[in-house]
Amino acid sequence: MVKKTKLNNLARQTVGGLAAKLLGWRTWIQAAFLLVWLDPMSLRLHNVCGPVFHCYACPLATFACPIGVIAQFGAIHIFPFAAVGFLVVLGALFGSLICGWVCPFGLLQDLAANVPTAKFSLPKWTGYLRYVVLIGTVLAIPYFFGESHPLFICRVCPAGALEKAVPDMAQQAIAGQQIVWPNALKLTILVLFLIAIFFVKRPWCRLLCPLGAIFLLFNRISAFFIRFNVDKCTNCLQCHKFCKYNIEPEKSPNDLRCIRCLECTRCAFDALTFGSIFERRQ
């Protein structure tokens, strides 16, 4: 019995304890994953979807963008079984943990947010815009109008603009060639995005990211989750200060707006901890 209890405690400490230890290394972990997405070995595995928002038009992309693939498949009226299955498995396991710890576009926004400027908060309802983007530009527009429509996701995506169009323009400028500008809408979104990342925490993720919208749907049911222990909570509201996304973690630890940066698990009283369904609990 004692041995079993010890094993249970160890299992609990493994996930929560590991998360606590890794918390200070989050930027480095994101940077390490960035190396994976940037294809340092020139593998160009573009017949496989990656789990993150990273444009496959980029010369430095290991995998295909799942959102791009879903939209392009929609445009040719074929259901993307592999891409959807992959996202469902990842979502069921991690939820938006991928947004907080793995996504390169998230890393870029996190780094920009470190610049000391006034930061503005966003109203709660703006989080639903992601579903407008997902349903509109990723599902409906590609299906009904094809990939030539100006609001097709890849034609307005700031990741594509930043990772492909801008380097191409720079290359053309350096080579003295005529510069091929991306369309005005894409350019406007890119400029707005580049301004917004300095004044709002993760504006793309919180406002418009269709991939985040998919992963967030799994937050309340994913295998890894944030656990709130009401008995340990002292109502100090320290977690409100830890959370940069205006979520009240004690009320909604697996909120649909949470990107799972896990900052709230810094709770001094262990009222908020990172857990998983794989732990044995008595």
Binding site: A57, V69, V89, G146
Partner: protein
């Protein structure tokens, strides 16, 4: 349904994972599509797996034409990147 209950979470997780794995496996191993060549008079229709199709769409290499057929957008060397 209480989503904080561990048993419920485990059941939902298992069902979702099963669904995801089935979709993924079907896409990879059993889902094939016929793609016509760019030239309409060329009779050589090829069958592409979903993985091959992912690669093709990532460079804008396939389109659905007015007759409803999937058609390659290039002949010979594939484009470097998608047209968007």
């Amino acid at each position: 349904m209480d989503l904080t209950d561990k048993k419920t979470k485990v059941i939902i997780f298992c069902l979702l994972t099963l669904l995801g794995v089935v979709l993924f496996a079907y896409g990879i191993f059993f889902h094939f599509t016929n793609i016509s060549p760019q030239q309409p008079d060329d009779p050589a229709v090829r069958t592409a797996s979903e993985l091959a199709l992912i690669k093709e769409v990532s460079i804008g290499g396939v389109t659905r034409d007015t007759s409803g057929e999937l058609r390659q957008t290039y002949t010979g060397k594939p484009p470097q990147a998608c047209p968007t």
